[in-house]
């Protein structure tokens, strides 16, 4: 196998300047798309054997074990996160372990771009492109939500209270980046009127 060469979809974009939050691209994230039937005990056991974790069955949740994380995408679909260099190996190990069980594991590390948003006010910045109530208790750390963001399909992962990962399909990375540069500008920071109930 040749050495892994990763070209960022955002390699030549403007860098963040005067933003109200901290914004960067995460380039070294491996992603494996895993599909299977959650009620099939053999499937769940095989996944656990390779990943070391029980795939989450609760909608919009995630589970982690070491450097592997499983994000719930649907009742029969999970996005497995791992270090980039490990993704191909992990997908192959899953495929081998799952054998004839009705399932699918594919290395999709190049499918999406990952944008890391960090800082106080990160929820308010994301609100500008979303119809979700990101200030509600549904978006605690660990929460995962596929969403409509700035008119494109995206995946939101609440890493910590003020740290969010936004996954967009690679071809939209440029658009999402520019959208964030515009909406996260220090000068366009929004303040909520009145006292708001905290997110938790």
């Amino acid at each position: 196998m040749p050495d892994l060469y990763v070209e960022s979809p955002l390699a030549h974009r403007n860098s963040p300047e005067r933003l109200s939050i901290y914004l960067r691209e995460i380039k070294d994230r491996g992603m494996v798309d895993l599909r299977g039937i959650a009620s099939d005990k053999k499937f769940m056991a095989a996944a656990k054997k390779v990943l070391g974790l029980d795939l989450p069955k609760t909608p919009h949740s995630s589970v982690s074990w070491g450097d592997v994380k499983a994000l719930w995408l649907s009742i029969d679909q999970w996005l497995i996160l791992c270090p980039r260099a490990k993704a191909a190996e992990l997908a192959a190990a899953l495929t081998a372990e799952l054998g004839v069980i009705h399932s699918l594991a594919v290395d999709v590390s190049d499918m999406r771009a990952v944008l890391r948003l960090e800082g106080e006010g990160v929820r308010e910045v994301l609100l500008k492109g979303s119809s979700l109530d990101l200030l509600s208790g549904d978006y605690k750390p660990g929460a995962v939500r596929r969403m409509h963001y700035a008119e494109i399909a995206a995946l939101l992962h609440v890493v910590e209270d003020t740290v969010f990962d936004l996954y967009v399909f690679r071809s939209y990375a440029d658009y999402a980046w520019e959208f964030l540069l515009a909406t996260a500008r220090e000068a366009s920071k929004i303040k909520l009127f009145g006292k708001q109930a905290g997110p938790f």
């Binding site: 909608p59 649907s74 979700l132 939500r145 969403m147 409509h148």
Partner: protein, 112 residues
């Protein structure tokens, strides 16, 4: 604006977060009687849809959520969703009984 709820993952959102899939429970004539499919029956299956005033049965997809299809019963006058149910399921019994207009009698054989 419709506020739609996904019965699969619990996501709630307006209709831009979902995808309307048109009339539900459309019956394909060839499934029931593959030998005798009239041109009229095939035409109706492909092109003719109900335009219900009041209770209507539809297919929806949780487009920006879990990606799954589901069924919904909706009042086209008040825009109120009466029920959500699985994509392989029939409407709740009381709604099948309430069906009027073009839907009247549509679920007759399911209510026996």
């Amino acid at each position: 604006m419709l506020l739609v709820h996904c019965p699969v993952c619990g996501a709630e959102g307006d209709e831009t977060d979902f995808h309307g899939g048109g009339q539900a429970h459309v019956r394909r004539p060839a499934t029931h009687d593959p030998v005798n499919v009239s041109d009229e029956a095939q035409r109706d299956y492909l092109f003719i849809r109900h335009n219900a005033k009041g209770l209507h049965f539809e297919r929806w997809r949780c487009d920006r959520g879990c990606g799954k299809w589901f069924h919904a019963a909706r009042d086209t006058v008040t825009m109120e969703f009466k029920a959500y149910y699985g994509i392989t399921e029939l409407p709740p019994r009381e709604l099948m009984e309430q069906a009027t207009g073009e839907w009247a009698g549509y679920f007759k054989d399911k209510l026996k």
